[in-house]
């Protein structure tokens, strides 16, 4: 799912070796867009933008991968929460998979667990399986509405946008002076 650079670098620190400073990820999207526009589809995948459902504009501060289907890259009103819960499930699963999770992984899981109802009582006695179950339970509540909104928006995006637009979003074009100049 689309994620913020900060989360990416936290996950990377928790489960993989090596650090990605989140500051380095911020300018990445623009570089990728430039690279795509000069030679479309020259690489198997690009890091691209998530699109807002209503205006199909690039969503602020989120990174996605170009090979994902469009409806995963669209952000509707419920999607931030849905993505958060899905991420919590993935993190909990990864936590179960690795042998001795370090403090960074502990911290990451707690950051999710703390904000999901019924996920954990405290940072010390967290159970990854419970976290995943709690996240799944809340996810059920939002999933259908969110999927409907995303599918509709994704259909629109595929119809209306060119290749570059589908990956990096369309920006609202202002006509003449309207909007931009007026305060």
């Amino acid at each position: 799912m689309p994620a913020a650079p900060k989360l990416l670098s936290a996950v990377n620190e928790a489960f993989f070796a090596g650090l990605i400073p989140s500051a380095r990820l911020t300018s990445l999207r623009r570089d990728e867009e430039r690279s795509f526009r000069s030679a479309p589809f020259a690489r198997p995948y690009y890091l691209c933008a998530a699109l807002t459902a209503e205006l199909l504009a690039p969503a602020r501060g989120l990174l996605a991968v170009s090979t994902w289907p469009m409806d995963r890259r669209v952000i509707g009103p419920l999607s931030p929460r849905v993505n958060y819960l899905s991420a919590a499930i993935r993190v909990a699963e990864s936590f179960l998979r690795i042998r001795s999770p370090g403090p960074a992984a502990q911290r990451l899981l707690w950051r999710f667990a703390a904000n999901i109802p019924g996920a954990a009582d405290g940072a010390r006695n967290m159970d990854p399986a419970t976290v995943a179950r709690a996240a799944q339970a809340e996810l059920q509540v939002h999933a259908d509405d969110d999927r409907a909104a995303r599918t509709a928006a994704a259909g629109r995006a595929r119809r209306q946008l060119d290749d570059a637009g589908q990956l990096f979003g369309s920006r609202l074009r202002l006509t003449g002076q309207a909007g931009a100049g007026r305060a």
């Binding site: 913020a4 900060k6 989360l7 807002t52 205006l55 504009a57 690039p58 969503a59 602020r60 009103p77 419920l78 999607s79 931030p80 929460r81 993505n83 958060y84 991420a87 999710f112 703390a114 904000n115 109802p117 809340e138 509540v141 939002h142 509405d145 979003g169 369309s170 920006r171 609202l172 202002l174 909007g179 931009a180 007026r182 305060a183």
Partner: protein
């Protein structure tokens, strides 16, 4: 209205008026009796510049560290679709689990123009106010507009508006700590009045759409870090009183006409800037003009008004400069000189000073006794 605009324009001189924000609007309420401040604010004078030009610069503004800290805390609370904020709202206000919809209004299709953002805020809030249950819960960075002194002012709030049971609430995220359930009273008061500005602006917006003021709750949600951690905690704050004060202040700004009418016709605070923006007006002349408009200095001004050092200097020797408590006790005794005279009996009090004079003499006697002097 044209007359008054022209008049205020002349007072301001040949520069565009300063824009208000929630902070400056909130500051309007701190000293409602001050004509100098009222006129300067209505005319949109660049007060920091004026004050430093006439030799009394005020070291004003928020520290860069405070701003950075505030932004970092706000980003943390709002990260991942407002995950932390949702937890707080669920715990404190019983926000139902399905209500998680989040709309970001900081950009509209990659643009940040105020006009566009305001239009989008309007359309989203209209939809939310008109529709029943599920038309949006959290609105991040809505751009609101408020009429101040007959001019629309855009308010760039770092807040979230959220909707529960058909009512909007304002969420204000502040980075001062709540320690052991207690926060700095002054900071809470400042936050309350700023939130009240937003409540007022939201009510105005919804009123334009034909929705009553009760659609915006008068309790705002204040989110602050708890104790010495970064963990946010939410508190409900009733801003009813602040709303009344603000409403009165803003209507007073609208009635600025009568206040301006009392001033000499040639009054202007123009710095006479040249093409390069360098002021040419003699500072002494400008200071004289500023002095013609009466101010009401109180020590509290030091926390909220850029003109404070000028007014303090002017008010030296006045009992008002000793603070409101002392000034109230002294009643009709206006200068420190006179108070001392009354205390040692060298002056005879007038009728309206008799009570204060008796108090002063009593105080002087006690002081003498304490210091072991025999009189």
């Amino acid at each position: 209205m044209h007359d008054i605009d022209a008049r205020l324009g002349r007072i301001r001189g040949d520069v565009p008026p300063q824009a208000h924000n929630a902070r400056t609007i909130a500051a309007l309420t701190s000293n409602p009796g001050c004509a100098r401040r009222a006129i300067m604010d209505a005319a949109g004078i660049d007060k920091p510049r004026l004050a430093s030009y006439i030799g009394f610069p005020a070291p004003f503004g928020q520290s860069q560290f405070a701003i950075t800290r505030g932004n970092a805390f706000e980003a943390q609370v709002k990260a991942n679709g407002c995950a932390e904020l949702l937890r707080l709202l669920r715990e404190q206000l019983g926000l139902p689990i399905p209500e998680v919809s989040y709309d970001d209004l900081e950009e509209v299709g990659g643009h940040r123009s105020q006009h566009l953002r305001h239009a989008r805020t309007r359309s989203l809030l209209t939809r939310a106010a008109g529709a029943g249950g599920d038309a949006g819960t959290l609105f991040d960075h809505p751009l609101l507009r408020l009429d101040v002194g007959g001019r629309p002012v855009y308010l760039e709030p770092d807040l979230i508006a959220f909707r529960l049971g058909g009512r909007f609430h304002v969420v204000e995220i502040k980075s001062f700590a709540v320690i052991d359930g207690q926060a700095d009273g002054d900071k809470v008061a400042a936050a309350a009045i700023q939130s009240a500005v937003y409540v007022l602006a939201m009510r105005q917006l919804l009123a334009e759409l034909g929705t009553g003021p009760e659609a915006v709750a008068r309790e705002v949600v204040l989110v602050c870090p708890e104790n010495f951690s970064n963990r946010p905690v939410a508190t409900l704050l009733d801003v009813r009183q602040q709303l009344t004060v603000l409403g009165r202040q803003l209507s007073r700004l609208d009635r600025i006409e009568s206040l301006v009418g009392l001033q000499p016709p040639g009054l202007t605070f123009d710095l006479e800037l040249d093409q390069a923006g360098v002021p040419h007006r003699p500072a002494a002349e400008l200071a004289d003009d500023v002095r013609t408009v009466p101010a009401r200095y109180a020590p509290e001004c030091l926390a909220s008004c850029e003109m404070c050092f000028f007014c303090r200097d002017e008010a030296r020797g006045q009992t008002a400069a000793l603070g409101r408590a002392a000034a109230d006790e002294l009643g009709a005794v206006h200068s420190v000189q006179m108070a001392l005279g009354l205390a040692d009996g060298t002056l005879t009090p007038a009728d309206d000073q008799a009570e204060a004079a008796a108090l002063l003499r009593e105080a002087a006697r006690l002081r003498r006794e304490c210091l072991g002097e025999t009189a």
